[in-house]
Symmetry: C2
DNA sequence: TGCATAATTGAACAATGTTAATTACTTTTG
DNA sequence: CAAAAGTAATTAACATTGTTCAATTATGCA
């Protein structure tokens, strides 16, 4: 019964990829069962043979996008040596990734946690995502004696929350209006937080 | 034609109040044209004689809720004398207001700015709302010489964005899980920002 | 090839927002 | 006062959403 599993996994992939494409392109608004199925080349009914509901499908995409985001940042920061600058860059490119794909931002941060179930771990992953990305840098700064462990924790938490707020205002409300301005504010606020 | 206007305004009020009640109670999810109209005591079609669409109705509520929020904070902070403590309290109760009414938070910060139109000023109002609430306190601290004007601006901006991020994670993702913990994190992060 | 099992489909249902045609009511006018 | 005109309220209808399920189609095996 190995063939069954392979085929089933392949079918799931068709739908998952279609969903990912839609999320990257048009965003959450464009997501509908009929839309996804059409792009996958099947009827909307077929989707329900492989997924419980459309939410399951959507949340499967989160992990993939996290990997992609991690790579996006890695590519742009790997040459930098540990320290404040690298930390700043990681946070900056974390934000830029979501600016590039507002649909993924919606998915990560704005989708409601209505019925928890198996999605709780997914939310935990999202919540701690930036922490994981920055962990080594904060650790390095503490070991260097630049700031206390406690202060590092606080600043990491401030950053994590601030970043989401900034993205909401920029992506959802066009505030600031231009990317240049957004970029500039990002630098300024990160400088203030890392001013020690 | 004065009577007309009075009657029309009264009709609009019925729908607006019904919408406000629903938003405070069940939140954005429960908002539907048929729901609002039923609560207002009219048919869903009647709503369209007084409002272009349901979005217009919803965004009319923003101003009312802002006034209410302002009063909520005022009541709880008016005895405090100007300074850091009062500033902390204002931000804290600003957050607590939205914790009390998650539906209003959704309305203020998560509703998309799809078709701008007359809603642009509304979004501007929301964006600068906390700034206005805190303006006097920041000003006082600058005049006292506690920090520079530039620093005050940066810290105010960090706070504004952080607050939205914290509320997203707490209200939408149950992170942290309890209000006590949320409250504690709020205090800690505000202390760190106001640590000068 | 023929049968049994599995996979795929689309009709159907309940909600949703919105529009437009219809009905009810009010006011003005002859 | 009654008929006409105009305004307001209602409901039927349409498109779109997620989801279910009976019926159809395809597949695999003997």
């Amino acid at each position: 019964m190995d063939k069954k599993e392979i085929q089933e996994q392949r079918m799931r992939m068709y739908f998952i990829n279609a969903t990912k494409e839609l999320l990257k392109g048009e965003g959450l608004k464009s997501i509908s069962v009929r839309n996804i199925a059409e792009r996958a080349g099947y009827s909307f009914g077929t989707l329900y043979n492989y997924f419980d509901d459309v939410k399951e499908l959507i949340f499967i995409c989160v992990e993939d996008f996290q990997d992609e985001c991690r790579e996006f940042i890695e590519e742009r920061t790997k040459t930098q040596s540990q320290g404040k600058d690298k930390l700043r860059s990681i946070v900056k490119y974390y934000m830029y990734y979501f600016v590039q794909y507002p649909g993924i931002f919606e998915l990560f941060f704005l989708e409601r946690a209505n019925d928890v179930g198996n999605k709780k771990p997914t939310f935990e992953m999202i919540y701690s995502f930036l922490d994981k990305l920055c962990r080594d840098e904060w650790k390095y700064l503490v070991e260097q004696g630049s700031l206390s462990k406690q202060q590092a924790r606080l600043k990491a938490e401030i950053t994590k929350n601030m970043v989401v707020g900034m993205l909401i205002f920029y992506l959802n409300r066009h505030n600031p209006q231009s990317f240049d301005e957004f970029s500039q504010r990002t630098e300024a606020l990160l400088d203030e937080i890392l001013n020690f």
